[in-house]
């Protein structure tokens, strides 16, 4: 493992990306980063731009107006990248997802548009669960970085 890979795994930067929904999972995500649960123990830092991020945390379901933005943010994130979907809406669409008839405003979960690596179900998930998901994401990032080299 090279120096850059080591640095990436021990200090992954996180971009918190809210797609839509009720904001419950955002509050829990921020609680997970705050001192009570302290996900920053793992070297995580919340960044303001997807261009700096290694891990993309998506919360909430995707409204149809938001489709171009989510695609753009995913493209802006540099490789290797990991997408962690947090909450029931981001995993399976939850309350807002309709199969038949289709919902006129809301598409469903972001994994219909971008590849999602780790799913953290819950409505809203506990901060412990989010820490669990982020750690899984870091492991996945390690896997991807080593695979990309070969």
């Amino acid at each position: 493992m090279g120096l850059i890979d080591r640095a990436r795994i021990y200090s992954p930067w996180v971009y918190h990306f809210h797609c839509g929904g009720c904001n419950g999972c955002d509050i829990e995500t921020l609680a997970a980063l705050a001192p009570r649960f302290d996900a920053e123990r793992f070297g995580i830092q919340l960044v303001a731009s997807p261009r700096h991020a290694d891990i993309l945390i998506t919360t909430g379901c995707v409204p149809k107006q938001f489709i171009p933005m989510i695609k753009r943010v995913y493209k802006q994130t540099p490789d290797p990248k990991v997408v962690v979907a947090i909450g029931g809406c981001a995993c399976g669409g939850s309350l807002f997802y309709d199969e038949d008839p289709e919902n006129y405003a809301i598409l469903g979960s972001p994994d219909l548009l971008i590849p999602v690596d780790v799913y953290v179900p819950g409505c809203a998930p506990k901060p412990e669960q989010i820490i669990n998901g982020i750690v899984q994401g870091i492991l996945k990032l390690n896997e991807k970085a080593t695979r990309g080299k070969k």
Binding site: G88, G92, S109, D111, V120, P121, G122, E128, I131
Partner: protein, 195 residues
């Protein structure tokens, strides 16, 4: 009042030990491992022996997480954790008390089709004698008869049980079609009282 004392205790503890929960490791005894409140609703657990497949949980599910798949041999009652909102309506309405909200909340999966994300219960179906259509789980038919014979008025019990055995094995449509032939009207006992 007791909750106030609890909170006060926690606040005082903060001055003696670090505030961060000891979540993934759980080694330090001075720190709390995880905060699990009393009424926490976690993932649902279904008792496979108690469940009869009556569709009550499917009818009330607000997030459409509960789904029912019928085939000729079996009925599968499925809960998809990704779409579940932990409202516990299914626990409330379950007539057999088969569904319980557990305190488990840790689940991270990397694949949507992971069996960990689903709760499945398979039930054997019975087919109609006349039209060969699967219409009811075997267990449910048994349980319905048990509950019926418990609650029914003893005056009309004989007639109802007799009629039940006459139409046993027919699906609701075929039962209705054979109502006159087999002399099984639902309000028969009411007429008897009038006469």
């Amino acid at each position: 009042m007791s909750t106030h004392i609890k909170i006060l205790k926690q606040v005082l503890q903060k001055y003696s030990s670090p505030m961060t929960l000891n979540y993934p490791s759980g080694v330090d005894k001075n720190r709390m491992y995880s905060q699990i409140p009393e009424g926490l609703r976690g993932f649902i657990e279904r008792d496979e022996e108690k469940c009869v497949g009556c569709r009550a949980c499917y009818m009330v599910c607000s997030g459409r997480a509960t789904k029912i798949f019928d085939t000729a041999e079996k009925r599968t009652v499925q809960v998809f954790h990704f779409r579940c909102t932990y409202c516990a309506h299914c626990e409330e309405c379950c007539p057999e008390e088969a569904i319980k909200m557990s305190k488990k909340f840790e689940l991270t999966v990397t694949d949507k089709n992971d069996p960990k994300a689903y709760v499945n219960t398979d039930l054997k179906m019975i087919s109609c004698k006349a039209c060969n259509r699967p219409y009811l789980p075997e267990k449910m038919q048994k349980r319905v008869f048990e509950r019926l014979s418990e609650k029914i008025d003893p005056k009309v019990k004989g007639i109802v049980v007799e009629d039940y055995h006459k139409t046993e094995g027919f699906c609701p449509d075929c039962k209705r079609a054979r109502g006159v032939m087999l002399d099984t009207h639902t309000k028969k006992h009411v007429w008897l009282e009038v006469v």
